[in-house]
Amino acid sequence: MRTNLASAPSSPSPSRLLWATLLCALWVLASCTVGEKNGGEPGKDGLDGTPTGPVTVVLWHSYREAEQVALNQVVDQFNATHADIKLETLQIPHEAYADKITTAIPHDNGPDIFIFAHDRIGAWAEADIIESVSSWATTEHLRSYERSTVLALVYKKALYGLPLAFKSVVLFYNKDLVPTPPETDEDMIAIAKANTDIADRRYGLVYENTQLYFTAPFLHGFGGAVMNMDGDVQLDSPESAAGLQFCRDLLTKHQVVPADVNSNLVTTLFNSGKAAMVINGPWFRGEISDGVRWGVAPLPVVKSTGMALAPYLGSEAVLLSKRSPHKAQAYEVMQYLAGDESAKIRMTVGGQSVAYKAAWEEVEVAEDMRVFRKQLDHVVVMPNSARMNAVWGPTNQAIHKVVKDGEAPRKVVAEANARIEASLE
């Protein structure tokens, strides 16, 4: 039983050399091709604390496409006009963005300023991740922005950022199927019924009917609410129940909405002409295919209560990191980003609904953009308290139970209310 060692396969030297070289090359590449150690830190001052040369301010964002192009233009313009501050940006995929902020900033590896929606301000303020800017932003200056966008950034009597743009859902409609958009909920149901043919899989109104974000307008339209800005849970009320019942009726009584909706379905149906009306936000404009003639209108008014269907308002703002070593300069950048010049570019190139009021008068604005601004008259600012986090899960479940399972709304909202409060203990 002998192995013939001599005949055992032995690698020829040249290929071994090749592998070794490849290995070394990989190693070298890995070590050398990356930037400075733990790079991306907020810009540092000179040894004695006085700025030597331009101060670097780092801005993080998760903009893509047109918004990114607009932001880059603004950044270039800023850098061209400010010799003492150098503004750098880093783009981050949205999914990992919040985690990256909460991980990096406490370890001094975060940005100086960053652009984010306002709903996490409460949690981040408590966790000392963001810094308040009340002392720099005078009341006078704040009047140049849309009021509700500023209110969204106030947490416990302090201001935490400057508003850049706002978003909320509105009513999109197919102009070929809906000649004039509805003004009341009864009109809306009538139009929807006229456009629904279940056998043909066409629906009059399509929206994500199990998600709180898209169902909120109905809740608010009947006088209900989920949570106020102070963090009090307000779900348990006959008004909220009425709002949920309305959504259930849309599915079972009027039968104008599909049973199982996700965001992709909304887009698909609208683009294939099988959805007459859609409740969606400004991002939807980029998803509509060219063949569809579409329009937007503010959400209608509920005839029985006289209140408009009021969606949640999202205020996209630039926030200041608590660990930034150049807060004064960072605030200067923030003011520029939120200000006039930047707003004009962001609105025309980026298609954003900017918060800076004057920009709307100075620039040619498309009709549909004006509708988004009109919706501002009837919005509910999404609470920025950390307590809001606990609301989504139970409320979505409650909506699912009422709209899809048909349980009694009053009981369901009471249960959900109790569950939210229990999880906040």
């Binding site: 303020a125 479940q397 699912h400």
Partner: protein, 652 residues
């Protein structure tokens, strides 16, 4: 050298089986325990410093509210200005809010640096200090409305720690008459010592003695049978010493604490007396200030305080308990580790010089793993004894675990249902992956089959494509009305002549339908891996065995049973065991496809844990959950290991 070198050593099984595990486990646990202890100690010290800050802040607030601005300024001079541990003391008058609800126009009513009195905070140029004070004031006074609900007593507005200096700041409301005048704040530097050095020193000494004793003893080799006994004795002594040392430092610090509190109360009383306040005013002042010092305060002012529910009560309840528990736990675990590994500890020394290359081969991977996997987990285990709200951590002992095992956190489903779903999910997945993967591998290993390569490459695609997009495509396919699955079933039903085809609401209908959707998606994603492993494993079976069996007249099935299966086991088992572990913790698919619905019924343990982490920010709780998951998996592995003896080596 003998003709067959080291053959004897290769065959003899030395009883060092659990040495490495025991040692590393002990080290990991000790690290955890030290961490937990340090945090507990820091928590207790924090508590004392904070109450100190609160006490003086409340005193100042009471003076400002009852006696007015001038007396409050004098009070500051009498107490804070004389004590170097006071960093700042102030009363700020609320300037109201602007149209946006932002607090504006705050002005100093009293201050330790008298020259600030009357100035608006935001006008002052030393923007750092005054800005942060202004922010804290704004944040604090916004809590007043909330706390004026009936039955809710708010003892303070804010209680913060400055990270760099460790100073504690407390801010309390000042209410004059019916209106809120503003707030009073005090900031004190810590006066208690840092973590007790004697305790750590004792632990370090104990560890050194233990390990050094083991080395020394084995070097002696004189009386082998006594070795382990003496070692046990040394380590037990070290543990006892550690326990006693810890207890001693704890008690000494506690009694020190009591003394300090009494001194503080006396100082305030003396200052008030010197300001000319009468006895009833002094008593009222002390009662308002000393709301939570039940110990010293009961001695001096004799009133039962009202405690805030929530934070105050919990801190009180766990005062000192944390430390006691931690010390006993440390001793217990050390003794346990000893019981498991005492016989083996001595062997490490003799083991290493004999077989250096074995360790050399294994060490790099193990070191990397310890640093990058075990250390984070040690952190996690330590964290599991704590819970946190938005601002601070506090020690809760085993409360997290109790809450997990008895509560129904998702609302609709209990922990045990989620556990059942997880086990069911794992079992079904692995069964399907292995049977499909192995079946395909058997088909594709036939050397005579044409296009083998093409099939293999195509069948691996589900594994190759990023699972985010494919999981979402599957989710779309399971849509009730528009999904391909229902459309296909509808066509089938048409063919079968069913008049009104029913469509299943996969993701929202019932637990079974959603679970099936998840299962199908994950099976689709997971079988290529098993197929590849099986393909590799099948290569280890020499063809001659099959040829011999064929000559003997065995059928395909018999060949499979007697040759393939037994020989596949050693190569296939790693994939199965690890696959089980991975599937148990498979977060992505559940999250992307069914989202845990309907009504949390398809959640598995890891998604539930992640919600605590991500949504509620309860890191300690999430850490406790991971410990529970880990314990379940460990139990499972130990049982399977026993059954399959997978850790044994090559068989002849």
């Amino acid at each position: 050298m003998a003709d067959r070198p080291n053959a004897e050593t290769h065959m003899k099984l030395e009883p060092w089986a659990w040495t490495l595990t025991a040692q590393l486990a002990v080290i990991a646990v000790v690290v955890t325990v030290i961490l937990a202890f340090l945090v507990a100690w820091e928590g207790d010290r924090s508590e004392f410093e904070e109450h100190r800050a609160l006490f003086f802040a409340r005193a100042l607030g009471a003076v400002s509210a009852d006696q007015g601005s001038d007396v409050s300024r004098a009070f500051i001079t009498a107490t804070a200005a004389k004590d170097p541990s006071f960093l700042s003391a102030w009363v700020i008058r609320d300037g109201g809010e602007d149209e946006f609800g932002i607090s504006r126009g705050q002005a100093y009513d009293a201050s330790m640096d008298g020259d600030e009195v009357g100035s608006i905070l935001t006008d002052l140029t030393e923007s750092g200090v005054h800005k942060s004070r202004s922010d804290r004031f704004a944040r604090s006074t916004s809590g007043l409305a909330e706390t004026q609900k009936p039955g809710h007593v708010a003892p303070y507005f804010a209680l913060d720690t400055d990270e760099e200096s460790g100073a504690r700041s407390a801010v309390v409301p000042v209410v004059r008459g019916a209106t809120t005048f503003g707030a009073a704040g005090v900031s004190v530097a810590p006066t208690m010592p840092d973590a007790p050095i004697p305790w750590l020193l004792l632990l370090a000494i104990g560890a050194v003695v233990g390990v050094g004793g083991a080395f020394g003893l084995s070097a002696v080799k004189a009386r082998p049978e006594l070795r382990s006994k003496v070692l046990v004795g040394i380590i037990a002594a070290a543990v006892l010493g550690v326990g006693l040392g810890g207890w001693w430092s704890y008690t000494s610090s506690y009694s020190g604490e009591l003394g300090r509190r009494v001194a503080d109360v006396e100082r305030v009383r003396d200052a008030a007396t010197s300001l000319g306040l009468d006895a009833p005013a002094i008593a009222s002042l002390l009662q308002q200030a000393d709301v939570s010092f039940t110990g010293a305060q009961g001695y001096l002012t004799g009133t039962a305080p009202t405690l805030d529910d929530g934070f105050e009560a919990r801190v009180q309840a766990t005062h000192g308990a944390g430390r006691r528990v931690v010390i006993f736990w440390a001793a217990l675990v050390l003794l346990l580790g000893l019981a498991i590994g005492h016989r083996s500890i001595v062997g490490v020394v003799t083991g290493i010089p004999e077989q250096p290359h074995a360790y050399l081969y294994v060490a790099p991977s193990l070191i990397g793993m310890v640093v990058l996997v075990f250390v984070p987990f040690a952190f996690g285990v330590g964290m599991s004894a704590f819970d946190n709200d938005a601002r601070r951590y506090y020690f809760v002992g085993v409360e997290n675990f109790i809450e997990i095992l008895t509560g129904s956190r998702s609302g609709d489903v209990s922990f045990y249902w989620t556990l059942f779903v997880t086990v069911l999910w794992t079992g079904l997945n692995i069964a399907l992956h292995v049977s499909i993967g192995l079946g395909l591998a058997l088909l594709l290993k036939n050397p005579m089959l044409r296009f083998k390569k093409a099939y293999r490459v195509l069948l691996i695609v589900p594994w190759a494509i990023p699972n985010y997009i494919t999981a979402l495509i599957w989710k779309g396919m399971f849509n009730k009305e528009f999904g391909a699955v229902n459309l296909f079933l509808e066509k089938l039903q048409h063919l079968a002549g069913v008049a009104e085809p029913t469509s299943i609401d996969w993701l929202g209908g019932s637990f079974l339908s959603a679970f099936t959707a998840n299962l199908v998606t994950n099976t689709w994603l997971g079988f290529p891996f098993m197929m590849v492993v099986a393909l590799g494993a099948l290569q280890s079976i020499p063809n001659e065995l099959y040829e011999a069996a064929e000559v003997d007249g065995a059928s395909r099935w018999q060949q499979f049973q007697t040759i393939t299966l037994p020989l596949l086991k050693p190569a296939l088992f790693p994939a199965i065991i690890l696959g089980t572990i991975w599937t148990f913790n498979m977060f992505n698919i559940i999250y992307l496809v069914s989202g845990g619905g309907p009504n949390n019924s398809t959640e598995i343990l890891i998604t539930d844990a992640y919600r605590a982490f991500d949504v509620l920010g309860r890191y300690g709780f999430a850490a406790a959950y991971s410990v529970v998951i880990f314990a379940i998996l460990l139990l499972y592995t130990m049982i399977t290991n026993r059954i399959t003896k997978a850790t044994e080596g090559a068989v002849e």
